[in-house]
């Protein structure tokens, strides 16, 4: 039948097929959402249930008002026979913001040098920046520890920050450099023709245009420092010095073979919330910044 069909019928069947496939895609979309979001949902819902409820023979898919308890959060935050949450939070905040601010300032200066000037050794510097990023931090752990131990900076926020700085700086310089070169130097020059000094022209004209770049590269430094676990694990061993990921691990280590899943899920939720919110805010900017210029039309 279809071979002899006239034009209008054919058109109909095509749009009909298109509609069916659209519905199919939408169903697949919902399934994808379910599988990617379910672990997060499960983490949050378990965190609000008592351990008795969690360990019941049949799982509670949708906790009702009767199942709701803040007990796990009370344990996670105030239980004093483990490492404490609030000091860990404070350590994480300190190390993250120190890393973020110092990294952005230092990387900004370097990216202006690389992106705006042509000087002897520029190429060598770029190669070094790229190669340093390929050195796995795990290979350096012991060396870092011995080095920091030598200058009495283990169990110290500054020591940890210095290590994070070294790991995020090359990447930040590289990305910022891209943003610096994308702002045409002519803009600055025309401001100078209009009577601005070079410094003032840079400050008033170029710098504001770089703000999005600073934000999107700052995000990586933030996430790296906030989530980093490996170095923190060996550098900050005393309970009062732990950062949040190391604190969370104390929950993973089962006591007498019994893991406190409720407390662990509450702790995981607490650690994840700031990052998830941060991601939600800056997501578009981040992938946008990543691919701009990478596609050659």
């Amino acid at each position: 039948m279809s071979t002899t069909a006239v034009a209008p019928v054919k058109k109909n069947s095509v749009s009909g097929r298109k509609r069916t496939s659209n519905i199919l895609y939408s169903i697949v979309g919902v399934i994808v959402f379910f599988f990617s979001a379910f672990p997060v949902y499960w983490m949050i819902s378990s965190s609000f249930m008592s351990n008795n409820k969690i360990r019941a023979a049949t799982p509670t898919w949708f906790p009702g008002p009767g199942d709701f308890t803040l007990e796990n959060y009370r344990t996670a935050i105030f239980d004093d026979h483990r490492a404490q949450f609030l000091p860990a939070l404070w350590n994480s905040i300190q190390v993250t913001f120190l890393t973020l601010i110092i990294c952005l300032v230092v990387a900004f200066l370097a990216s202006v040098a690389v992106g705006r000037y042509f000087f002897k050794g520029r190429k060598a510097f770029i190669v070094a920046i790229l190669i340093i990023q390929m050195i796995p931090g795990e290979a350096m752990m012991i060396t870092y520890f011995r080095m920091m131990d030598g200058v009495h900076l283990t169990e110290n926020v500054v020591g940890l920050m210095l290590i994070y700085l070294a790991s995020v700086l090359p990447f930040t310089i590289w990305t910022l450099r891209g943003f610096v070169t994308s702002v045409p130097a002519e803009l600055e020059e025309s401001a100078m023709v209009d009577g601005c000094s070079r410094g003032k022209a840079f400050w008033k004209v170029t710098f504001p245009l770089l703000a999005p770049g600073l934000v999107s590269t700052g995000v990586f430094a933030f996430i790296q420092a906030w989530n980093e676990f490996n170095m923190a694990l060996i550098m900050m061993t005393l309970p009062q010095n732990m950062t949040l990921p190391v604190w969370l691990r104390t929950y993973l280590l089962a006591e007498h073979g019994i893991t406190d899943w409720g407390g662990l899920m509450a702790g995981s939720t607490l650690v994840a919330i700031p990052v998830v919110i941060f991601f939600m805010i800056v997501q578009g900017r981040m992938t946008g910044g990543l691919t701009a210029g990478a596609v050659k039309g």
Binding site: Y117, I135, M140, T143, N230, V276, V295
Partner: protein
Amino acid sequence: MSTITLSAGGAAVKPRKANKKKAQPFPYILLLPTLIILVVMVGYPVVSLIITSFQHYGREQVFGAPATFAGLENYQTVLTDPSFWMMLLRSFLFMIAAVVATMLLGTLLALLMMRLNKGFRLLVTVGLLLAWAMPALASVAVWGWLFDTSYGIINYLLTQITGSDWTGHSWLANPISFFLVLGLVIVWQGAPFVAFTLYAGLTQIPGEVLEASQMDGATPVRRFFLIMMPYVRSIFTVLIVLSIIWDIRVFAQVVALQSIGGIAEQTSTFGVWVFMKGTAGGNYGVSAAAALIMVVVMLVISFYYVRQTLREDNN
């Protein structure tokens, strides 16, 4: 996620050629803080790592005993250790499986996002974002809970579906299923990044090109490989190289899963093995030699990527 290096920003503007003849000190002043940090925090540790790898360096040396020259002995120890080769094989097999799964799933997700209308696309974006944004340790905790031996929901569902009793089945005690769980965590978190980046690249393909190919009756598969792929090839290569680097370096997730209940000897990956030799074994010379081998492996893997990036910088 720390080591992504794609050229950001629009078309690169050539850096200002030195229009004055004499060398300017200004760019060097701008670079000074970076250079100090990199020399102290990268240069010094790398040199010390290289020196240690040629020394007998154990616990006594940490407390001040002089280290003696060991020649290539540490490298010999590493390279003749059967557990090193087992670990290497394990790391590479896991890496290959994880990279293939991540890239495949990520690409399919990106293509799906191209087809969805706005509302459903937002739904998928939110879901993937949640998975992507989870801190590694928290996601290991959640998956560990899903796969828990006694109360895990996976065992419950398997019991319901298959009819046989899965309660008490320990996923982490067996190396194979340990890596299955590890792979799920890695792919769950890695695929969204691939999907988002690729999707952002795909949306930059001019609409007319895609429409024209559709008019010409190209099948979806051909359309993907012949029309879309050339546009996003550079993104695709970078994503593969980055996934390889991340998946062979996987550390935190392995350590965390091992603390829930894995057998360390049979599940250690590259970084974990190096770390264990150093801290648990107390043999820093051997650990340093293994670490340097790891550095060389990483550099070999990323050589193509570094060259590619440099070429793009020159254009």
